[in-house]
């Protein structure tokens, strides 16, 4: 029964991926951009799921890595020329990985509420570094005059300023991140992470260096958040300190709660739900004066989901998947 419900969930996920692949045939440029933004958010939320949903680390500073990679791209891009993706992407991810390694080495010495506070503190430091110094050009942020280029010599089949191209690139990367994290979680490393969340002291007693495992996961999560930040900068063409703010860390946390932790695809569902529901609640024709205060309706919506579906919206999908197995077979 459990197997068949997992099978149906898988079929639904594949169907979802196919729909996403076909979407550009039907969607306008606006909706293409919206779904691209959602898929970038999904990568960001999946990266948080690795440390929160699997390793049990509640970070309230995850936007630091998203924003840092975005700023790395903006700061290292030539002023009136396109940066090469082949240089700027590895550079941004590597720098973000080093940042996550340094911060992780410090914050992972704490746990519980202290961990939440210290991750928040580091993210705030980074926020003020880019907000209040000349380095990040203040609250206005930095514009990217040219989108990064994927050209190799004269060969340039994919252009990031083309909505379709960017859409498919982001879709491919979202699926790649999903498969990468699935693989990591099935590896010896990943099995230990899951065990750490369940019972950290027991894992230590078995002889595992818990700290090293947590740090490894923290760095990988930071780099994947960085990938999302990099892609977001490619899409919108500018960075500003808001992407480093604690509010943004909160948004990705809520996205994950909404979708359901510890499943990876819950992060994807959450990203779609969060952004689409936000669009809905800020639709003036429907919500009138409340449209401006969409956060109010969003807050109620999230509280309702968390109360009714502790496992997030993904739980709804799983119940849907479990249903046919619970019913008697017709044949």
């Amino acid at each position: 029964m459990i197997q068949s419900s997992a099978g149906i969930t898988r079929v639904l996920l594949i169907a979802g991926a196919v729909c996403l692949a076909l979407f550009p045939l039907a969607g306008s440029a606006f909706y293409l951009g919206l779904v691209t933004k959602i898929m970038i958010m999904a990568i960001f939320a999946m990266s948080l799921d690795l440390i929160l949903g699997y390793a049990g680390l509640v970070s309230l500073g995850h936007s630091a890595y998203f924003g840092f990679a975005a700023y790395m791209l903006a700061l290292t891009a030539p002023k009136y020329q396109a940066a090469s993706v082949w240089v700027s992407l590895p550079l941004s991810l590597l720098a973000t990985g080093v940042l996550a390694l340094l911060i992780g080495a410090l914050v992972l010495r704490t746990s519980g509420i202290y961990f939440i506070m210290v991750t928040l503190a580091f993210a705030q430091m980074l926020y003020y570094l880019f907000h209040d110094t000349k380095l990040g050009r203040g609250s206005d942020g930095i514009y990217l005059h040219e989108r990064p280029s994927l050209a190799v010599g004269d060969f340039n089949p994919i252009s990031l300023s083309d909505h379709n191209h960017l859409y498919y690139l982001v879709l491919a990367l979202m699926l790649a991140v999903y498969l990468l994290l699935r693989t990591v979680l099935a590896s010896p490393f990943g099995r230990v992470l899951v065990a750490i969340k369940a019972n950290e002291a027991r894992v230590r007693a078995l002889g595992f260096q818990v700290f090293a495992y947590k740090l490894g996961a923290f760095v990988l999560a930071g780099m994947l958040a960085g990938l999302a930040g990099y892609l977001s900068t490619c899409q919108f063409g500018f960075v500003n300190p808001e992407i480093l703010s604690w509010q943004y860390s909160g948004v990705v946390l809520m996205t994950l709660l909404l979708g359901g932790m510890g499943r990876l695809y819950g992060a994807v569902i959450g990203a779609f739900a969060y952004v689409l529901v936000q669009e809905l609640f800020s639709y003036e024709a429907l919500f009138g004066v409340y449209a401006k205060h969409w956060q109010l309706s969003m807050g109620c919506f999230i509280v309702l989901v968390v109360l009714l579906l502790p496992g997030g919206l993904a739980e709804l999908l799983e119940r849907l998947g479990a249903k046919p197995a619970a019913e008697p077979d017709d044949g």
């Binding site: 490393f189 099995r191 369940a198 894992v203």
Partner: protein, 252 residues
């Protein structure tokens, strides 16, 4: 007797003003089963936590295979060859019995930090885990979620996890707690087999088990060693009898 595997001297743990373990010394050799008994609150579990590294001692030394380990971390001591089980069942309830043992065996594998290969692809780790399950008699229960096993089976699984880490010294904290008579009997047989080629420190309440198994017996009261030696000699000690054996009204 074989060489000394674990030598504890003057081990002390203070929690604020309370001395939970006071200047405890004991020795443990390979092929020997050393039982520690004592009334509730005698400091037995604290002693186990000090030896395994779950607690840091206030004073004293723990020498394991000639190395001072009293300030090494729990995971380090585990990798050196110390295995422990817990008084309250401490397993990964949401994993299968096999996965519990596989994880334990993985801690000894050189590839434990691999990120990209499936965890089930390591044949030696898998074999080790299956072997550990077989040693405790759970070879047919591997696919069951650990949380769904009976209490006795969970206690056996705990021992299997400990064995899968290939320890030389085992610290077993009340492995018979809450077991029925039949389960106890098979656990006693299992412990006797394990003690043949391991050094075992057994903390236990079950007197029948202790006298059936122990080659050396230490009695603790109020955090201190009251007497230590051959079981019969210790049993004959009038102080021990007064403090613990036969006396219904324990120090609580």
């Amino acid at each position: 007797m074989a060489e000394c595997a674990l030598a504890v001297s003057g081990l002390t743990k203070r929690f604020g003003g309370v001395v939970a373990v006071n200047a405890v010394s004991l020795q443990l050799s390979r092929g020997e089963l050393h039982a520690v008994i004592g009334p509730n609150g005698a400091g037995k579990s604290t002693l186990a936590n000090l030896l395994s590294g779950d607690l840091a001692p206030s004073n004293g030394s723990i020498v394991f295979d000639g190395v001072e380990v009293s300030h090494l971390s729990a995971d380090r001591r585990s990798r050196m060859g110390m295995g422990r089980s817990y008084q309250t069942t401490n397993i990964f309830a949401q994993f299968t019995a096999f996965e519990n043992c596989r994880l334990a065996a993985q801690s000894r594998a050189p590839h434990a930090f691999n990120w990209l290969r499936g965890a089930l692809g390591y044949r030696e780790v898998t074999r080790e885990a299956q072997h550990a399950l077989a040693v405790v008699g759970l070879e047919r229960r591997g696919a069951i979620l650990a949380g769904h096993l009976s209490h006795g089976e969970q206690r056996q699984l705990e021992i299997a996890m400990c064995m899968a880490t290939r320890p030389r010294v085992l610290l077993l904290d009340e492995p018979l707690a809450g077991m029925g008579a039949e389960e106890s009997a098979s656990m006693i047989t299992l412990l006797r087999t394990i003690a043949l080629d391991h050094a075992v420190l057994l903390i236990e309440h079950d007197m029948d088990a202790v006298f059936a198994l122990a080659q050396v017996l230490t009695v603790m009261v109020n955090g201190e060693v009251l007497d230590s030696g051959l079981p019969d000699a210790v049993r004959a000690n009038p102080q021990v009898q007064k403090a613990y054996l036969g006396a219904g009204e324990d120090h609580v």
